[in-house]
Amino acid sequence: MKRNGAQILLESLAAEGATLIFGYPGGVVLPLYHRFREYPQIKHVLVRHEQGAAHAADGYARASGRTGVCLATSGPGATNLVTGICTAYMDSIPMVVITGNVARDLIGRDGFQEADITGITLPITKHNYLVMRASEIAPAVKEAFHIASTGRKGPVLVDIPKDVFIEEADFDGYPDQVHLRGYDPVTVPSDIEVERAAAILNEAQRPIILSGHGTLQSGATDELVALAERAQIPVITTLLGISGFPEDHALSYGFMGMHGHYFCNMAADHADVVMGVGMRFDDRAMGRFKDFNPQAQIIHLDIDPAEIGKNFHTHAPVLGDVRQSLRALLPHLTSTTRPDWIRWIDDVKAQHPTDYDAEGAEVTGPWLCRAIAQQTQRKATIVTGVGQHQMWAAQYYSYTRPRQYISSGGLGTMGFEVPAALGAQFAQDEPVWSICGDGGFQMTCQELQTVAEHKLPIRYVIFNNGYLGMVRQWQELFYEDNYHSVALGQPDFVKLAEAYGVTALRATNRAEAVAALREADAHDGPIVLDIRCVEQENVWPMVPAGAALSETIESAEEL
């Protein structure tokens, strides 16, 4: 059966079940857009900037667990995706990125809108392809989805020159197998490694589990709960691990790291056995490496062999899919109780504040996060941007369902919140709440048009303090209050939203904010809330950059 490259690509996507594509057209992908109508099962969502397409595909993947797909034209279209691809790469998000390129005979000649996107994305994709024949499209797409969604997940880019979309080739169905001799991730843990880890856990007096994004990625929440309960091990999550372990569980002890809870950081630092589960011992989570809990034995469950021993030597690594590893570990563990250890952590928790809200009529970050939690009964999917509001959303919501907290952790991409919420909304019917910074919102707010067109019921709550808050906090604490370029003049967000045809409300105090949240919750369709917050507020506690977890501070006076 003869098909042209564009048709083969669409056939392949349909066969892959990738029926939702976030994209933006341009010259070289016109042969592809010409064929979209032939495949009504594939829904194309037109974004307003390619970065939005990448973040939307990312948000969709994070909310659904499926592989997100985005599409852009050559040159500037492709380079606009780069921030989104890198965001997905840092957080191991399964994503397939399709780009067009100039015709084959123009490649390497600096043709109009030519960019070496496979070269550019080499270090920020799990793998990428430049497909030079129509007959190679289907195998490349098959491999791309396979690589993106297995092992340690990540973005894969497929670059297709314009004339390859037009070239005809025989297409006899989508391949059902891949042949990759250099790629075969280990998912089943070995008995020796499992037994060694179990032996250490069974001997442990003060064990702690650090659960990361891998718990969510492999769907291991139930297994983790079972293991924690059996061995009575307190569970702390990393930022991206939030919602991987229900925060209303008795063994849930919040999240750790630079702005993690004080008692969490202390517990991680006082444990005698630290078990990392699907996490990578990142510097923001662990503090200064060489002073992180020197006496602890480290167990590390991960699917990526390169993560084992990267930052810390591991006493007992367990290589494999986290869910399978937890399942394998469970029967080896002795059921026990640890009243002393749990009491130790509870005492630290009782002696230090867990709520840094300042009372008053003015809206503070912690208060607003708790108000949103109350309004949504802690059930909403929360998408955040990056900065102070991201940390407050992590500290004050209390997540109980997997994939409930969606945030750019590794790359820390401001502006993620607007398009990622858009993508997440396509994965579910219940309204998505997007907790936005006033800075980040300005970076990607053109996607309000996309949101309005599709009548997506997203609730955008802008924590508007008129500052680039986290940067201001650092200038205050570490750069002698020398504020520079952090006071953000902002447009009238209500008028801006209304210009896009989106309902918007403003609140300047707590009473108004409560009313606005209630109205947003009941609203049919998208809504933007411009909530004026205290201008200068700091996120506490904090591990200053370069400090150890044991040096967590709770106020500026401690510096």
Binding site: T118, R181, I192, E193, D283, P305, A306, T314
Partner: protein, 204 residues
């Protein structure tokens, strides 16, 4: 001439053999990985292997500034890399070829030829005012000959970089992934607290 275990233990240089898909762009992927992770390449040679469609890379890295284990594992993560094995701890045959062009008058030729003979090197080109000496051996041998030829006037030098092969019937060729994992597991079983060498982040 012969690199042995004990020699390797003192040498900061490590030899990693990688078998990679013979496809456009694979060298760029490997180079990009080394640049991105800050691994220092001392030498890198690529050529065909005995398996169709696979190229063999011999990569020499500075084992003091770089965690070799990370080199191995990050390389292996690349989809186009079929295997990556650090063979430094095993008995090796390691060789390098160099062509050395030395300025030389007809009168001086005899000296240079005699010198080359001592190193079992050969003179492969003779001109009015120069000769090209070809030498094969490990780096120390090439370095020694270079030092001795220097006074004559070194005009040009090319070295291939090291190629290496494990002694005996064992190979560093690709093995099933399960085998690679078994070996990696043995390695991971070596208990310890901190990675050797420099930590990769400035926060330390």
């Amino acid at each position: 001439m012969i690199a042995t275990n004990s020699q390797n233990a003192h040498s900061p240089q490590r030899v990693v053999v990688a078998h990679v898909e013979d496809r456009p762009g694979v060298l760029a992927r490997v180079a990009s990985l080394f640049r991105r992770r800050g691994f220092n390449i001392e030498s890198l040679t690529v050529g065909h292997s005995d398996e169709p469609g696979l190229s063999r890379m011999t990569i020499v890295v500075d084992g003091q500034g770089t965690q070799v284990q990370q080199v191995e594992r990050q390389l292996f993560k690349l989809v186009d890399v079929v295997s990556a094995i650090d063979i430094s701890e095993r008995p090796l045959v390691a060789r390098e070829l160099a062509l050395i062009k030395v300025s030389c008058t007809p009168q001086g030729r005899r000296d240079i030829i005699a010198l080359a003979d001592v190193f079992r090197a050969t003179v492969v080109d003779v001109a009015d005012a120069s000769v090209i000496v070809q030498v094969l051996g490990d780096e120390d041998k090439v370095d020694a000959l270079l030092r001795l030829l220097h006074p004559y006037g070194l005009l040009e030098l090319v070295r291939t970089g090291r190629v290496a092969m494990v002694r005996g019937s064992g190979t560093s060729k690709p093995v099933p992934v399960s085998e690679i994992e078994r070996r990696a597991e043995e390695e991971r079983a070596q208990f310890g607290r901190r990675p050797d060498g420099a930590l990769p982040f400035a926060s330390d």
